[in-house]
Assembly symmetry: C2
């Protein structure tokens, strides 16, 4: 299997991305196409000195064009046909790679994926699925930002697609909940109320309402919401972990006894931070496209990039798209009757 | 000043609530009416043995009727006219108390407040304002659950009301942001897009978009959103702090060196937990009603109840309602022109 990595996207530049690529190749027998400026990539490779067995599986696809983080996605994709992200998805389109991974401008990655690969049959709106760390297995929240104003039909599709993706985490019959406020059926906004019957009548293992606090408990496998609410959840969690880390660090630095204590307990905090750090979590798949695309956080570290490449591999291996097609076809009646 | 406390609401029963009441009286010269079952209240008072100077400022308003946590708020308020929460707000209505505080069924507290006190002039929808801990001063998020489907006009009113409430935290010219996804103007769902011009043309110090991660940074004083999104934010934060505490505790218990380290650094973690524990934060005011009502978390500890009583006192002292009336009147033109 070959995966295309946009070697120009991300806040840390190509070195971090290529370090992640090397880590992924060390752990797997994957092949990788690094899409970006050949001389910059070669420079990184010279510094990082991958083993021969890794270097043999690296290919460079040269382009100097790239989408900047602040650019308008739609404009960028229209104008920059040879940007690294467009060429990465072009490799998938031509069958030369089985998946593409980018830590660049998320909107542009999404636009490039949809433009190059198109949507899967019966999908109205592709969406982004994000795995959250919990006390047990990860929980998949979808959509986390691709679609801000949604209709019930979109949420049903997100649920079916995210449930298919949960195969990657070996979850057999995923428990699917809808994110809302209040525990009783019928609690929530109009979108939740209208989506309820669709989920209840679908083939999904629908367990009903899930509240924000339940996300981290691990008693549900897939949580569905519109992309506005999902993105707010993601960013609130990220911001809270950052602020908490800051507050604790501040406290620890103010006392030498606390500092000593922290040194002793540090492995616990390191492990905790790794568990909840979204940048480490390995990228979020854009589901509903006719191919595989993984969107990474701009600030992704080499480890995060490695994890994202592994998620791409697992998504292909678990036949997530074939499963989405079946699941959407099976539930077409539910959609048509109700919406 | 006299404050009415619903002595029957909350997950921990009257003992915890009354302990909180005693703490509040020890710190202030307030008077308190404890509304609930007299014999149960007397039993708690006998155990807690408040000082004479505190006991003198405690009055019992007897009723045996109460709203259960799981009850439908609307039904409960209609049927249980003598419930502790209804009588607490009745004291405010009759001018015998200046504010009411309840840790019972939140929906019922809201319904009782609106039923007994009515809305302030020009307020379409009362809403709940919640103070979040940040790296600096608290940030006020509104609405956090009273109104799940909102129109732009409602969000403008929330912003004006929450800005008035920020007087309680001595914030002079509060920076007001709208919760959305993405930094650029115009990013967000339809509600955000339609609310933007209202906020921009209001008398508020509107600073534009705020993302979920900005909530905890302290670079904004008031954040406005619909009650669905706000409630999700609140519950996600709560759930994440709980899960994080659980994960860290688990890690610490697995190693004796880590345990020792934790013991040494414990004051830091205690301080941190206090800073981010919403139950400790002292209740959220229902703004927009013709009086003062504070809604507490069901699991509120005595300290949380004390803090809620202090928030009630500060809300009255800071003339929040007078300020809301002025602010809404001043901005009526904005509302009328635009909505």
């Amino acid at each position: 299997m070959r995966i295309a990595l946009d070697a120009m996207g991300g806040d840390h530049g190509p070195a971090e991305l290529i370090a992640g690529a090397i880590l992924a190749l060390e752990e797997t027998d994957l092949e990788l196409s690094l899409v970006g400026d050949e001389s910059a990539i070669r420079k990184c490779l010279n510094t990082l000195e991958p083993k021969q067995s890794v270097a043999n599986r690296l290919q460079i696809v040269h382009t100097t064009e790239m989408v900047e983080m602040g650019e308008s996605p739609v404009d960028a994709i229209r104008k920059k046909k040879n940007s690294s992200v467009m060429l990465a998805f072009d490799l998938v389109k031509k069958g030369e790679a089985q998946a593409a991974v980018s830590a660049g401008n998320s909107g542009a990655t999404m636009a490039a994926a949809i433009r190059k690969l198109g949507r899967l049959k019966n999908v109205s709106r592709p969406g982004i699925a994000n795995a959250f760390p919990t006390l047990n297995k990860p929980v998949i929240l979808m959509d986390v930002g691709a679609n801000v104003d949604c209709r019930p039909q979109h949420l049903l599709e997100f649920a079916l697609m995210a449930a298919s993706f949960s195969r990657v985490y070996d979850i057999a019959s995923p428990r699917v909940g809808i994110l809302t406020i209040g525990e009783e059926a019928g609690k929530g906004n109009q979108l939740v109320k209208d989506t309820w019957p669709l989920l209840a009548e679908s083939s999904l293992n629908f367990i009903g309402n899930v509240e924000g606090r339940d996300i981290f408990q691990g008693d549900v496998d897939v949580i569905v919401c519109d992309g506005f609410v999902g993105n707010v959840c993601l960013k609130v969690s990220e911001g809270l972990v950052e602020a908490a880390t800051h507050m604790i660090r501040e406290g620890i630095m103010s006392s030498s006894i606390a500092k000593l204590g922290y040194l002793l307990a540090r492995p616990v905090f390191k492990k905790f931070k790794k568990r909840v750090d979204y940048a480490e979590y390995g990228g979020a798949p854009l589901l509903g496209i006719n191919g595989t695309g993984i969107i990474c956080h701009g600030k992704s570290s080499a480890v995060a990039i490695k994890n994202a490449i592994l998620v791409a591999q697992q998504t292909v291996n678990a036949k997530v798209n074939e499963n989405i097609l079946l699941s959407l076809a099976e539930n077409r009646k539910v959609s048509e009757e109700k919406s």
